[in-house]
């Protein structure tokens, strides 16, 4: 330790056992000092993480099972089981139910965001990403981008089935598409809650359980399945303030071609408020996670 030996020819190392040269040549070449690439911007980082989410869908297609099967089951079950009882006939009920089922299907899928995040933490992948010089929110934003693919698949299946069963959209293609976009924007805002849960809970299954407990009153105690005017007053009170009800009203309106500016605004305000409040909290949890 008395003199600084200049690299790359440190003869002091020769006292230690050297690795056999046949094996180390490619290794030596691969790990020797090299020029660093220019660091990419935040968008490129987030898109790379989005690409990862798509790769995971490709390798684990089972995760699409819920996305494809649950909208089919929900739509068929509610339309034929309760349609006659709730609305008098199946066609009338389908017209009322389908936008709501679409909303419920996509919102249930948002819990996977937290589940996936927590899996990354428990598997140690998360800390690898945090040790890289990337834009801090990019792993989360990228995951959310990847999730929109799942939402879009579920939306397509639900709508396709709906049209097959006789759903008619007065708002036309534009109305249906803008309804779906509004739903995706809201889902993006809502999924920050589940991401935050994914960061604080101990296991992926705990995240799943807690998220469902949050989601149940949001989706079932809303105007998705039935007109709130038949509900008791206290429940009407909740349904009235439930942001999911406002979202469903707006999506229904858009698909029917009767949406008002106020209806759509409420849904957007709810999404913006969720993002403004929960996203900073989530990022704080992310940075300070031990």
């Amino acid at each position: 330790m008395s003199t600084a030996v200049p690299h790359p020819e440190p003869d002091g190392v020769a006292t230690r056992e050297r690795a056999p040269h046949t094996e180390t040549n490619p290794l030596r070449a691969a790990i020797s000092r090299r020029d660093q690439p220019t660091p990419p911007g935040p968008v490129a980082n987030a898109l790379t993480f989005g690409w990862r989410a798509l790769l995971k869908i490709k390798h684990v297609p089972e995760q699409l099972f819920d996305v494809t099967v649950s909208p089919i089951i929900f739509t068929l079950m509610f339309t034929y089981l309760f349609g006659g009882a709730i609305a008098g006939d199946v066609q009338t009920y389908l017209q009322y139910l389908l936008p709501g089922i679409l909303v419920q299907t996509v919102l249930i899928i948002t819990v996977y965001t937290g589940f996936t995040m927590n899996t990354d933490i428990t598997k140690g992948v998360f800390d690898r990403f945090r040790s890289l010089p990337v834009w801090r929110p990019s792993p989360i934003v990228g995951a959310l981008l990847g999730d929109t693919v799942r939402y879009s698949i579920a939306s397509t299946i639900t709508l396709g089935l709906g049209f097959l069963l006789g759903f008619r959209a007065g708002g036309g293609v534009i109305g249906v598409l803008s309804g779906v976009v509004l739903l995706l924007v809201f889902a993006f805002g809502l999924s920050w809650i589940f991401t935050a849960l994914g960061l604080v809970m101990r296991s992926p299954n705990a995240v799943m359980g807690t998220s469902m407990m949050i989601l149940m009153p949001l989706t079932f105690a809303s105007n998705i399945f039935a007109d709130p005017s038949t509900m008791p007053g206290w429940l009407q009170g909740w349904v009235g303030v439930n942001p999911v009800s406002h979202l469903v009203t707006a999506v229904r309106g858009l698909m029917d071609g009767t949406a008002t500016f106020t209806e759509v605004s409420w849904a957007l305000v709810a999404a913006a408020a969720l993002t403004a409040v929960v996203a900073p909290l989530t990022m704080r949890l992310y940075r300070n996670r031990s």
């Binding site: 190392v13 691969a30 790990i31 660093q36 660091p39 140690g124 040790s131 300070n288």
Partner: protein, 326 residues
């Protein structure tokens, strides 16, 4: 202090980290010269992982400061992240993706173009003997392959400082040797490596200097031979067929060797420090004469157990899994 020209790759002063009421790291000072291998040796729960996580910017210290190649790990965290590589139980790869996809992902995050990232991934897979695993999902890998991919993933940009947290824990001897070879090549190339381990042998094989940690503190620091000198130049290990004979064997050993004989948590084992093989020459006949059934008798280096016992006066206890709290 005589040598001002030695550049420090990692420097830490009074690092502290609490988890609730537990002091995981309790005032750690480090000064690791560039181009050297520094071993952090200690049992589970000693605070090794927590210390590495602070140096790698994953965890904010509660007190104290640390720099990596002159950059503060809290204030210049992003700069530090651009200079380090990290492999360990807590920094792994995505098991759903293939070996190649994992490396392309990381290369893309560093800013490699798509073709450059693919070329870099192929180069690393070849270098780490993972050619045939390029298109297989990581979940199908063996333990050794998984660890080599972990290492490759932390070397995409050939970082000058590498943190390896227990890189060989749970590996079979062949895989362990492969990992050791990789570390040797790295250091040969001028990188600085901070390695944590539970095995004295590993620290001895790889590290220029070793810090022994216990309860979040460094309790000894020096070269491997300095540490071993603190426990005697060698030791004799005895394993019995019948644990019930241990008191008898302990008495015979003490009489023949003239030193204290230590017991460990292993109820059929005994060990003692000796100054040379000669003093052990009469041990086996004496044990056999006394009717002790010997299953194994060996001379060798002191183990981590013995270093620990000499330094702390108590054996390594494996009871705490505190690091899992993180």
């Amino acid at each position: 202090m005589a040598n001002m020209s030695t550049e420090l790759a990692v420097e830490a002063h009074g690092l502290v980290k609490h988890f609730g009421s537990t002091k995981a790291v309790d005032g750690v000072d480090l000064a690791i010269p560039a181009g050297s291998v520094f071993g952090v040796l200690g049992p589970n729960g000693a605070g090794k992982t927590t210390a590495v996580r602070m140096l790698a910017t994953l965890l904010r210290p509660d007190a104290g400061s640390a720099t990596v190649l002159g950059h503060d790990v809290v204030r210049d965290a992003d700069k530090v992240r651009g200079l380090i590589g990290l492999t360990g139980q807590f920094a792994s790869v995505d098991e759903d993706l293939t070996g190649s996809e994992n490396l392309v992902l990381i290369a893309r995050l560093y800013g490699y173009s798509r073709p450059a990232a693919r070329a870099r991934a192929a180069e690393l897979l070849h270098a780490f003997d993972l050619d045939e695993a390029a298109d297989r999902q990581v979940k199908t890998f063996s333990g050794g392959m998984h660890r080599r991919l972990d290492l490759a993933a932390s070397m995409v940009t050939s970082p000058r400082v590498l943190f390896l947290d227990e890189p060989t824990t749970g590996l079979d001897p062949r895989s362990r040797n492969q990992v050791w070879d990789i570390v040797r090549v790295l250091v040969d190339d001028g990188a600085t490596v901070l390695l944590t381990t539970q095995y004295l042998e590993e620290a001895d094989q790889l590290a220029d200097r070793i810090a022994v940690v216990d309860h979040g503190r460094i309790i000894a620091e020096g070269t491997a031979s300095e540490l071993k000198a603190s426990v005697g130049s060698g030791s004799v290990h005895l394993r019995l067929v019948d644990p019930a004979q241990r008191p008898l064997a302990q008495e015979v050993m003490g009489r023949e060797l003239g030193v204290d004989v230590q017991t460990t948590s292993d109820t059929s084992a005994l060990s003692a420090r000796i100054d040379g093989a000669r003093s052990a020459a009469s041990l086996l006949p004496a044990l056999l004469d006394a009717g002790v059934e010997v299953s194994e008798l060996s001379l060798g280096q002191p183990s981590l157990d013995e270093v620990f016992l000499a330094l702390t006066g108590r054996p390594v206890d494996d009871e705490s899994d505190e690091e899992q709290v993180a």
